[in-house]
């Protein structure tokens, strides 16, 4: 197959591997949406790299007909950063899980957020360790009973969006495995972002944590419990957009009746310089609030790989590479073939 052929279709992005998730796993839906989005965006398969860690979700690269690297538990962002530094022209995606990214891998995760390196990081959040058979993860609800917490887990969960924002992320979004259209839009926005784009994807693990997002994916959930974020539009939700988000007295976000006081409803601005409002949005959660879906934050900042290129170019300008000079260093002297002690044999050079 050559790079010059017709643009690949969704099926072209499927590898020849049999997909091996449990029947009913939310990962299937994400896989097919990603394939569709890649095709729609016209990504070249050979210029796309998917790097993953370890976990059910991290099997993802095997199913994609792109370059793929199934690495180590938690380490994908670091490895993907190396890919990007070596080949800034490639489209580099990281697929990770809640354990992979936020337990063992949280260090690399927060640094990837802060560095704004051109990685698209998709976190399949099923709030459980799937691959190792069901232990609680850093996003599991407090009190959850799992094999390693038979009496209920004690750790308060991370809010992945808040963590990313706290780390300085320039692009933060959330979608849901089963919301195909919304997920596709969100992935497209991530692809369009320069720098680190972080997308949390709620994913159902129907074996070990079935229904964790049932309130959202159940019949009326996507209407009643989701707050769809759209740039410039008011923060409203409900069947008829009857609920809105306004500003409370202490500056927090509060429910306002959208119909009664449309002026009190805040508008969404993902491009705001300060991450404060995005952070406030990230705090909203079921059941007191709807769950914000879409792009919380998307701001333009220099990328790591871009800055590296810029410095390299500047360095080359300021005297291109001269290997002989580099090897010689600041000061050399000559030793001739003459005898020891023969002053002619030695000459200084500055």
């Amino acid at each position: 197959m050559s790079a010059a052929g017709p643009p690949p279709t969704r099926k072209d992005f499927a590898s020849d591997q049999e997909v091996r998730w449990c029947p009913g796993c939310g990962d299937y839906a994400i896989l097919s949406t990603v394939q569709a989005v890649f095709a729609k965006l016209g990504l070249a398969r050979e210029r796309t790299v998917i790097v993953s860690g370890i976990g059910c979700s991290s099997r993802f690269p095997y199913y994609m007909n792109t370059y793929g690297f199934h690495t180590l538990h938690g380490r994908a962002p670091g490895i993907a950063t190396g890919v990007k530094l070596a080949a800034p022209e490639l489209s580099v995606w990281v697929v990770t899980g809640d354990g992979d990214a936020l337990a063992i891998g949280a260090n690399h995760f927060v640094h990837a957020m802060r560095r704004n390196v051109g990685l698209k990081i998709l976190l399949f959040n099923n709030r459980i360790y799937g691959l190792t058979k069901g232990q609680f993860s850093p996003t599991s609800a407090r009190g959850q009973r799992t094999p390693s917490t038979p009496l209920g887990s004690l750790d308060p969960p991370f809010n992945p969006l808040a963590l990313a924002l706290g780390a300085g992320a320039t692009f933060v979004a959330r979608s849901v495995d089963r919301f195909g259209v919304h997920l596709a839009e969100t992935l497209e926005a991530a692809a369009a972002h320069r720098g680190t784009a972080f997308v949390e994807i709620y994913q159902n693990c129907n074996i070990f944590n079935d229904g964790a997002f049932g309130y959202l994916t159940d019949k009326d959930g996507r209407v009643d419990h989701a707050l769809y974020l759209r740039p410039g539009e008011p923060l409203r939700w409900g069947r008829d957009g009857e609920h809105g988000l306004g500003l409370g007295l202490a500056g927090e976000l509060v429910r306002v009746p959208a119909a009664a006081a449309p002026g009190a409803v805040l508008r969404h601005d993902p491009g705001a310089d300060s991450p404060a409002r995005a952070f406030a949005l990230a705090q909203l959660d079921h059941p007191e609030f709807p769950v914000p879906l879409g792009v919380l934050r998307a701001v333009v900042r220099p990328t790591l790989e871009g800055e590296h290129e810029r410095q390299a170019a500047a360095a080359r300008e300021g005297g291109g590479p001269d290997l002989a000079r580099l090897l010689a260093g600041p000061e050399t002297w000559e030793v001739g073939a003459g005898e020891a002690g023969d002053p002619a044999g030695t000459a200084l050079s500055g």
């Binding site: 590898s15 050979e46 095997y62 380490r75 890919v83 080949a87 260090n107 290997l323 030793v335 020891a340």
Partner: protein, 617 residues
Amino acid sequence: MSAPLGSVGARQPLDRVVVRIAGDSGDGIQVTGGQMTSTSALAGNDVATLPDYPAEIRAPAGTLPGVSGFQLQFSSSEIMTPGDQADVLVAFNPAALKVHLRDLRRGGILLVNEDAFDENGLRKAGYAASPLDDGSLANVALHRVAISRLTREALAGTGLGAKDAERCKNFFALGMLYWLYGRPVDPTVRWIRDKYAKRPELAEANEKVLRAGYNFGNTVRLFQSVYEVPPARLAPGTYRNLDGNEAIALALAAIAQRSGLKVVLGSYPITPASTVLHACSRLRAYGVTAYQAEDEIASIGAALGAAFAGALGVTTTSGPGLALKGETLGLATMVELPLLVFDIQRAGPSTGMPTKTEQSDLLMALFGRHGEAPLPVLAPATPSDCFWITIEAARIAIRYRTPVIVLSEGYLASGSEPFRVPRPDEIPVLDPGYLTDPAGYAGAYARDPETLARPWIPAGTPGLQHRVGGLEKDDLGQVSYDAGNHQRMVALRAGKIAGIAADLPPARLEEGTAGDDLLVVGWGSTCGAITQAVREERALGRRVASLHLRHLNPLPRGLGELLAAFPRVLVPELNTGQLLWLLSARFHVDAVGFHKVQGAPFRVGELRARIAEMLGA
């Protein structure tokens, strides 16, 4: 005006001199030593140095833990170590004297800054009475010079503040040393002017003080004799002074330039490896991307990711960092991508003595990964060899698609010696041998029958999308749990590494001949001391040979036979016997270990004594 080199009739010729300079870490000891080194090298001597830093944190001025030292040997013949005992010791304060006096030879010259031997200084160093006056220095040639005062006086009227003036005193001492050994002051003057280009008042002051020191030596006729060490008979060529860590960086730039390979260095600062990162971060114009990651794991990860995209991935660290990289190294052995790992060893275990040298990571380098994950291990012998071994390591990594560990040492990292500067065309071109033609593709793990290496396909190559990872897989790269496949893959990976031996020079003796009474086997930085000790013993007629291992895995062909050719084998190491262990396991050789773990290299004298003992002499 340049000091009149050679114009003193009375200079006694000497073959070699060992100078030790010691003082407070704020006294500019390393700079002084570095200048004395370059000037000696420029004068055509062979040189070897040993900086000796205090623990990382600056201790209070004047105390024993705050003492910084620098030893330099310069010679008119080839030398391989910075020397054992010093011929001259410069002590800037009582603490420096206390720490270093024991290393001054009987009758050696002791130059002290008298001004620092006041009550306060003596107390901080724990002296009850001044050693300058209590007769305890009878065995050395003591020279008391009021270096601080003379420096201040030299600068009187320049308007320099007292503190800045005091800071120049190391150049006064350097000037005296230059006088003592008939060295030109010009190179250092040039260096001063360059270094302080933005602060001309300091440039001027330092130059003034340097010349004052020189003239003081000359005028006062401080020393009974003055000496000269004629140029050494080095191989012809252009030379520079180079330390081991800078050598690694230079070699990486040379590889990038000569082979057209992008080099991506992922690193995290750690003593004594950090200076490789520093040097590499100045090489952006040369195609070397240096990246300081958040930790050791991310840094080797970045290097490995870069390799997947077709770059030469490199990571540099020291022991604690290598311990953290083990899991990723295992992945690298599984995905079979080229990767260079430099471990600049320091005294362990754990945090140990971070500024001190040791050779105790050999077995970790060989075995510190879970599962069967063999990889090549190399070790440089000298600071210059850090340059060449980097190129050799890259050659192996690229040809065999494998991570390679290079074990350098703190001692090589900051020790310097004359390096014959190669012309660019002397640097071999390494062919990455990328697979870019889909027609040549037979699976991600289809192996070259000769090397057993798999194809290197940079991500981005059209038509060759493939997936790699840490799970066991078959020749096509498909994940496989098949029993027979695993056994075969384990054997193939091991066979590939073992097969590199065919591609290496066979084992050969450095000194001596097979059948001698004793063979001394070493690796890494001990090469110099061992060679010198063996040469000196041979000069006495003793039948002792030596062998040095640059390749620790695989070991060179013929090693077993060579070992068997000697009735006795001695293996000196700066650990408790790691190479000894390896040789025992591989060849069942009944060797004797000589183990020094004192944060310092072997002295030639120690080795000679041990050799003599073994020979029953």
